[in-house]
Symmetry: C2
Subunit: 250 residues, 2 copies
């Protein structure tokens, strides 16, 4: 992206020029890269513990001879790529629609944890210079696995305590759950109580570690314990200079 953006900049100006920030970002589609890091949802997709009852189902409820095709979707609140709400584990905890949308949109960082064999501990994270307010996405060997792996890499309780202590604004992982059957769900509970947003079921194999602009868009369903989300990243390696534009509005 840096190289492509550089060409775009040269096309326009060698020195200084004014441009709409978002027109520039969007670049009419030429200069922005969108990385889709969501799981496809379909009958037969990977589901937690391979339990058949967790499979999505699709029912044709109207057809072309009635004017148009329409489908009824039967999906779980934790199907595929999804956002967890504290009410998933904590009775009376916040529901999906009570979580701040603007915290799900903004800069994020993919950490390279592909070397971790079993679980991510606080020691793995301490060296990463994680700053307060960061949204970190944990890229592990899970992203290279196609089906459901019962031995998936997860986040150990002490790592959750570390992240809640920073505190980060959110954490995402490339597994259908941020922990693996720990009694009492200490990882989830620690993150929820720490106000840390939890994204699960990401697919990060096609994206290099580094900084991106995160867009995590959960379905706006009222009162849910979790909800499927479309999550993607906009390339953020581009560096630009700016200066104040003096206008009446400032």
């Amino acid at each position: 992206m840096a190289r492509r953006a550089g060409r775009a900049l040269r096309r326009t100006s060698r020195s200084t020029a004014e441009v709409s920030l978002l027109r520039f970002l969007a670049g009419k589609g030429k200069d922005m890269i969108v990385y889709d890091i969501s799981m496809p949802i379909f009958r037969g997709m990977p589901v937690y513990k391979n339990e058949g009852k967790r499979q999505p189902d699709f029912e044709r409820i109207r057809d072309y001879n009635e004017g148009a095709a329409e489908t009824r979707l039967h999906i779980d609140s934790h199907t595929g790529t999804h956002l967890d709400a504290p009410s998933h584990m904590i009775p009376g905890g916040l529901a999906i629609h009570e979580l701040p949308l603007d915290a799900l949109v903004g800069e994020c960082r993919i950490l390279d944890l592909s070397y971790v064999e079993d679980r991510i501990t606080a020691d793995h994270l301490r060296t990463e210079d994680i700053a307060p307010g960061e949204f970190v996405l944990l890229k592990t060997r899970n992203s290279d696995v196609e089906g459901f792996d019962p031995g998936f890499v997860y986040l150990a309780p002490d790592a959750a305590e570390f992240l809640a202590g920073v505190p980060v604004r959110g954490v995402g992982i490339d597994a259908l759950s941020v922990e693996r059957n720990q009694p009492g769900h200490p990882t989830h509970i620690t993150l929820f109580r720490g106000g840390v947003l939890v994204l699960e079921g990401l697919r990060l194999s096609g994206v290099a570690p580094g900084r991106y602009f995160l867009v995590a868009a959960p379905l706006k369903v009222i009162g849910m314990d979790g909800v499927p989300a479309r999550v993607f990243l906009l390339e953020s390696s581009l560096q630009v200079s700016y200066r104040t534009r003096q206008t009446a509005g400032y």
Copy 2:
């Protein structure tokens, strides 16, 4: 936003400084405004023609005494704010997962059509200087109506022909359908055949006409005729200056 951004710029520098474009956009949440233009999904929400069978349904499938709360969602492919696929009306037409995600992310423009009484015609659009590749959102009196209004403002077939002729990359409307029971669905068919993306069920009452950065995030469900989406706008009135940054990468 222009005023807030101006302050942000002044805080950093009066002349020129380098900054990560996306760090600036995100501004750690301080300088970016997110407008959520999605309908909330709940039992009792407005549905097309008020047909009860179109209501979403929610089934608690696991509870705290089993370790965690989980829910099964039963929703239609055209529930609330959603993206239409050509296969909604055209047998063999493209399905949701075949539509380009990057065309759903980028600059858009909200047109003020709140003065239109019955339907939007080509004459209403001709004066708007709509450019090829634009994504236009049609803000009508529908955005002020809470329930389902059988007399909602819709897009007339000649307006669809006009938009497909520009061609725009997408059109969004603040009604659950882009047309109102027209025999043969000429508006839909014209847009689909013209390769125009169709967003329905937007809520635009809280957003002023003008340019924004659109994020329309449909659930990634394979093979669907439509799918619920979370749609929001990022403020784009900000104007910045930039100049080339000379690095090895360019």
